[in-house]
């Protein structure tokens, strides 16, 4: 299985940003006018089709813990990039930004997932705008 650095090198070598596809249209499901950013503790990562999901316990303004769900890429896309099911153990601290689902629940599309040390998860080994990341 390829490591993330090798994947980034491969993508850099082959070049050519490709359009980003998903099996469903973003705008039908998520609200671009409701950007969200949460900090919390990972409770679970579900590697299910058609999209993996990450679950995070977040303290709201009243100090109450609520569980947020964020959509990730398809499991086969993550796997082909070298990610394994146990890549993010429960208990990991993360900051997630994305857009809220139109149903108004604590659900979103995970645009960016960042660890306390600044490392970005599920980005193919590089952050937005740097080599290996598809610019949209």
């Amino acid at each position: 299985m390829l490591g993330r650095i090798e994947i980034a090198a491969l993508i850099g070598l082959i070049g050519g940003a490709a359009p980003v596809f998903a099996h469903h249209a973003f705008a039908a499901e998520f609200d671009v006018n409701q950007p969200v950013e949460v900090r919390g503790t990972v409770t679970k990562v579900d590697w299910v089709n058609p999209h993996a999901w990450i679950y995070v316990d977040v303290k709201d303004a009243d100090g109450k813990t609520v569980n947020w769900h964020f959509e990730l890429g398809a499991p086969n896309a993550l796997f082909r990039l070298g990610w394994k099911k146990d890549a993010i153990p429960s208990g990991t601290q993360v900051k997630i930004s994305g857009f809220r689902a139109k149903n108004g629940e604590n659900v979103g599309n995970g645009r960016s997932i960042i660890l306390p040390d600044g490392k970005e998860l599920f980005s193919g080994g590089s952050g937005p705008g740097s080599e290996g990341t598809t610019k949209q």
Binding site: H69, K102, N103, V107
Partner: protein, 300 residues
């Protein structure tokens, strides 16, 4: 230090770059005498946009002025990872220069019946927010993808051949189609299918396929969100070289268009070691809940 797997991928990419498309290619033969096109490929360039497509309120591409990709802060909707799995599959394909997109009519203006074009433009307007279930795109409902919605580039297709048949196994939505080469007629008109009924024949190194019996629940693209059950598709898969199949599809849908039109693209073999994986869309799809909310009485 590059791993052996990465080196293999890069060598595969280099061999693809090195293929001279102009040299005649003689494919090997299967035991029953068919030109052998077996292997795993991605498809490229087929679903090209028509000229002046309608604004699509759910299209995430930056071409669409309503798209979330055009946010002032530059943040697109999806992380780059959504496309990068496909880039691994497409290693070595960047320098291919072949016919792609709508090739007939040459001006890419599709021969819509005016009333039907107006209906589809109205339909698109009701997809965001989705007015009802019917206006949620078929892919998002985990419908089988038909011949054009197999997530080209992000999910490979595997061609398998046995006596009298070519099977195309889709990575996307874990489905398949079988092209029967034994001269049988199409199924009766009462049998309607997402993937249609395909019969075919070989003309030299070209597999010619005729597909009918669609069910009226397949799309061509996000701009053409449905095709009718009168859809009739003629395809040509031409083995161009060891790693490339040129593709052409003529779409004849007399319900929607005044005459047939043709799109083109090509399949390129994926690097060695790529495997198809289960993509069971229904397993964990949250799309309908995320749009419409939980059904009454459902636990959250």
């Amino acid at each position: 230090m590059l791993s052996r797997q990465l080196t293999t991928l890069l060598l595969a990419a280099a061999s693809l770059f090195g293929q001279a498309a102009t040299e005649p290619w003689t494919p090997s033969r299967t035991p029953d005498g068919q030109p052998d096109l077996q292997g795993m490929y991605t498809r490229n360039g087929v679903v090209g946009l028509e000229a002046s497509p309608p604004e699509n309120p759910i299209d995430p591409s930056s071409k669409n002025p309503l798209s979330v990709s055009n946010r002032g802060d530059g943040l697109g909707p999806y992380p780059g990872i959504f496309g990068q799995g496909g880039q691994v599959l497409r290693a070595g394909q960047a320098r291919q220069q072949r016919r792609t997109g709508i090739v007939d009519p040459p001006d890419k203006k599709l021969p819509w019946k005016p009333g039907e074009d107006a209906k589809r433009r109205e339909f698109l307007l009701h997809m965001n927010p989705a007015a009802d279930l019917r206006h949620v795109e078929l892919n998002a409902r985990c419908a089988l993808p038909g011949l054009f919605q197999g997530e080209d580039g992000n999910n490979p297709y595997q061609f398998l051949q046995r006596a009298g048949e070519v099977m195309i196994a889709y990575d996307y939505n874990h489905t398949s189609r079988i092209v029967h080469l034994d001269g049988r007629p199409h199924l009766g008109p009462n049998i309607r299918l997402f993937m249609g009924d395909s019969i075919g024949r070989w003309e030299g190194n070209t597999l010619v396929v005729d597909t009918t019996n669609f069910n009226g629940h397949v799309a061509y693209s996000r701009e053409i969100p449905y095709l009718s059950d009168r859809l009739h598709i003629s395809e040509r898969f031409t083995i161009a070289d060891a790693n490339t199949i040129d593709y052409e599809a003529t779409i004849d849908d007399p319900e929607l268009f005044t005459k047939p039109w043709t799109t083109a693209g090509y399949f390129t073999r994926v690097p060695k070691g790529v495997q198809s994986m289960e993509f069971a869309c229904a397993e964990g799809s949250q799309t309908l809940v995320n749009i419409f909310g939980n059904p009454p009485g459902a636990s959250k």
